[in-house]
Symmetry: C2
Subunit: 387 residues, 2 copies
C-alpha cells in the first residue's frame, strides 16, 4: 500500500563554491533587524564570521548576535533568542553553523511570539503554531541533520532532561540555505563522521518500514550508496570537493522529506538517541551508530525481506547459497564495518554513558517503532547490547 502524501518544500538551496554570492539579494528581501545566530568559534576560524558581518554591513542591516548555540541546543537558549527577537523587533534570523544552530533558529522563530508555554505547546503537545513566525535563513557549515531544508527542530530542555524533536510545516523551513561544501573542510573528523552516520540513520529510519515496492525505497538506496562511497573518500581526503559535495547533498536529500514520501517510517533509533543525548550530550550521529546495529539485529526478523534487500542493493552482498537470515545479518555487519571504517566508537561506554543511565534512557524513550513494536523493556535490552 502506498500512502497519500503532501510534498511541499519551498526552501531555496544555493549550492556550491559561489553560493555565498547569493546572500545579499536574499537578505535584501527582508527588513533591517537581523538576529545572527552561531555556535562556537569555528565560523571565525574559517573566516566566515567576518564574511557574514561584511555582507550584513554592506546590506545596511542592524545586527544582533547570539553566539554559543550548543550542539544539543537548549530551551534556555531558545528563550534567550526569543527575548532578543522581541526586544529588537527582529525581521530575520540568520543561522550560521550546523543543524543545531539552524534547529535553534527555527525554535526561536516559532516561539518568540508564542502565547503561553511554547515548550509544552509546540514540542510536547505538538500544537499548531498560531503566532507570527520570524523568517529564518541558513549558511551551513556542517552536514547531517538536513535542518537546512526542513521544518524540524530538536531542542533539549535541560530543566526536565528531555530532548524533543518536532517537525513543523513548510512555513518554518529556512527561506534559503547556502551550502558551500568547502565550509565543511575544517569540521573535525569525529564530527564529520557523526554527521555521515546521522544521514545514514535518517535514511534507514525511513527505509526500514513497509513491505511495499515504493519509488522512495529506490531513492533511499541511491542516496545511501552515494553517501557510503563519498564518506569513504572524504575520510581519506577531507578536501575532496566532489566527496564533500555529495555528502552535503545526500544529507539534505536524506531528510528534506523526499526520502520519506509514502513511507510509514520508524524513528525508534533517533528517539532512543535523543534520550541518550539528553543524559550524555554525546554527538548525535555517534549515539545513533552505537544504537543502530544492536537495534537492527533485535528487530530484523520482523522485516526480513527489507533487510535482505538492504544487504543486496546497498552493500552488494553476494546472496548465493545463503539463507535470508544470513543475508540480512551480513547487511547489518556491512553497516557495522562501515561505521568502524569511519572510526566511530561502538559502545555506549565510550560515549560517556553509565550503566545507571540505561534504564532511565529506556524509560524516557518512546514505545513504538517500525517493523517491531518496542516496549521500554525491549529498548532496555537493546541498550544493554550497546553498552
Amino acid at each position: 500500500m502506498l500512502y497519500d502524501f503532501t510534498y511541499h518544500n519551498p526552501t531555496k538551496i544555493y549550492f556550491g563554491k559561489d553560493a555565498m554570492s547569493k546572500l545579499p539579494s536574499e537578505l535584501n528581501s527582508y527588513g533591517k533587524n537581523i538576529l545572527f545566530l552561531y555556535g562556537k568559534n569555528s565560523i571565525k576560524k574559517i573566516g566566515l564570521y567576518d564574511e557574514v558581518k561584511r555582507v550584513l554591513n554592506e546590506c545596511g542591516k542592524n545586527v544582533i548576535e547570539l553566539a554559543g548555540i550548543k550542539s544539543n541546543p537548549s530551551y534556555a537558549q531558545v528563550l534567550k533568542g526569543g527575548k532578543l527577537v522581541r526586544e529588537n523587533k527582529i525581521d530575520f534570523i540568520l543561522a550560521v553553523g550546523g543543524g543545531s544552530v539552524i534547529d535553534c533558529a527555527k525554535a526561536i522563530s516559532v516561539s518568540a511570539y508564542a502565547k503561553g508555554d511554547a515548550w509544552q505547546r509546540y514540542w510536547i503537545d505538538f500544537e499548531d503554531v498560531d503566532n507570527e513566525i520570524v523568517p529564518v535563513g541558513s549558511i551551513l557549515t556542517m552536514t547531517g541533520t538536513a535542518s537546512e531544508m526542513n521544518g524540524g527542530s530538536v531542542i533539549t530542555n535541560e530543566e526536565v532532561t528531555i530532548k524533543a524533536g518536532r517537525v513543523y510545516g513548510p512555513e518554518v523551513n529556512p527561506k534559503f540555505s547556502i551550502l558551500n561544501p568547502e565550509f565543511t573542510y575544517t569540521v573535525p573528523k569525529i564530527q564529520m563522521v557523526s554527521g555521515v552516520f546521522d544521514v545514514m540513520s535518517h535514511l534507514m529510519e525511513q527505509y526500514f518500514s513497509g513491505d511495499d515496492d515504493n519509488t522512495t525505497d529506490y531513492v533511499i538506496e541511491a542516496v545511501m550508496k552515494s553517501l557510503i562511497k563519498s564518506a569513504r573518500k572524504a575520510v581519506e581526503n577531507p578536501e575532496d570537493y566532489e566527496a564533500r559535495s555529495n555528502i552535503m547533498w545526500c544529507a539534505t536529500l536524506g531528510l528534506n522529506t523526499v526520502t520519506g514520501l509514502s513511507k510509514t517510517q520508524d524513528w525508534e533509533v533517533h528517539d532512543i538517541e535523543h534520550q541518550l543525548g539528553a543524559y550524555t550530550d554525546c554527538p548525535h550521529g555517534l549515539g545513533l551508530a552505537v544504537i543502530s546495529m544492536p537495534y537492527y539485529r533485535y528487530i530484523y526478523k520482523e522485516g526480513i525481506d527489507k533487510f535482505v534487500r538492504f544487504a543486496e542493493n546497498v552493500w552488494g552482498v553476494d546472496t548465493t547459497g545463503k539463507t535470508k537470515d544470513e543475508i540480512a545479518l551480513e547487511g547489518i555487519a556491512c553497516l557495522e564495518g562501515f561505521a568502524k571504517e569511519l572510526g566511530i566508537p561502538l559502545t555506549l561506554r565510550e560515549l560517556g554513558a553509565t550503566k545507571e543511565m540505561l534504564s532511565k534512557i529506556a524509560e524516557s524513550a518512546y514505545e513504538g517503532g517500525g517493523y517491531k513494536y518496542m516496549t521500554h523493556e525491549d529498548i532496555l535490552k537493546v541498550l544493554k547490547e550497546c553498552f
Copy 2:
C-alpha cells in the same frame, strides 16, 4: 567536477486517492475568476469534469472554460487563452489533464500580459518574463512530462512549424498539483507507454552527461529502476495502484529538476523529437523512443564509462568477460527490449514521418548535445537509422 546549482521548487504536491479533497482550500487562496483548461473528452469520461465543476461552483467561482487543448499545444491556443484571461480578468488558471494542458496553461500564464511578441521574446529569445504572471494549478490525468512540478512549457507554433520548449523560473511552476494515480487508469495504453518512455528519456538526457561521481546519478538510476519495474506491471494490469503510483511519482521526480542537479545534461533526443513532433504530431514519448536507441548507439563511445554503468546499475547486465563496448551495447539493447515490451513502435515510418521530412527535421534541430557534439549531418545520420 560538480557544478554549482540553485534548487527551488515551491510547487505543493497532493498525492494519492484522496488528493482531490485539497482542491477547495487551494482554490480559496485565489480570486473568483477561473480559467478552466482541459483537452478532449477524457476528463468527462472519468467524471472528473463534473467533479471539478462541482468544486468550482461550491467555491463560488466564475468559470471560463477553454477546451480542446491539443497534445502538442499550439501557440494559437495560447493566444486564445491569453485573450480570455484579459477579457475576464482571470485570477487563476486551473489546468486539468496531462502535460500538454499544463504546458499550455503556463504559456497562457506568462504571455497573457506580455509586452510585444511573447513567442519571440519568451520561447525564441529566452527573455526574462517582465509582466504579471497569472497563477496556475493543475490536476494531473496523464503522467510523463513533470509539467505538474516544473516551470517548463513546450509550445508548437504552427505558423512557422517550430516546437519550442522553455523552462521558466519557479514563479511559473504550478502553485499546487493534484496527483491521483487512479485518474490515469483509463489513459489508453499507447499514451501510457508514451508517457513512460518520456520519463525514461528525461532521466537519460540528464544521466548521460559528465564523468563525475554525482549523487544525482545514483538518484536517476533509482528512479529508472522503479519506473521500469512498475511500467512492466502496469502494462499487465493498468489498475495496479502501486505501479501507477510509482510511475506517476517517477514522472514528477524525473523532471522536477532534482534529477538534473549539478549535471550538464544532454537533451539532444528531446530536441530532435520536438522537430519530429512539429512535422508529424506523433505522441512525444513514442518519438523519443524511436530516436533514442540509434542516437545512443551513435554517441556511446564518447561516454562509454557511463553507458557501462547504465548497463550494470540499471539493467543488471552481467559484465563477466565482456568488453566495455559489449557491455554498453548490451545496456542499449536492454533499453530497446524494454520499449518493445511496452509495445512501442520503433521506426519513424510507423509514426507517420516521410523520407522527405528527415532532412528538414535534421536542419531545424539544435546542433549540440552531451557526450558528442551533434551537427545537422550527424542528426540526419541518426534519423536515417530510425527510419
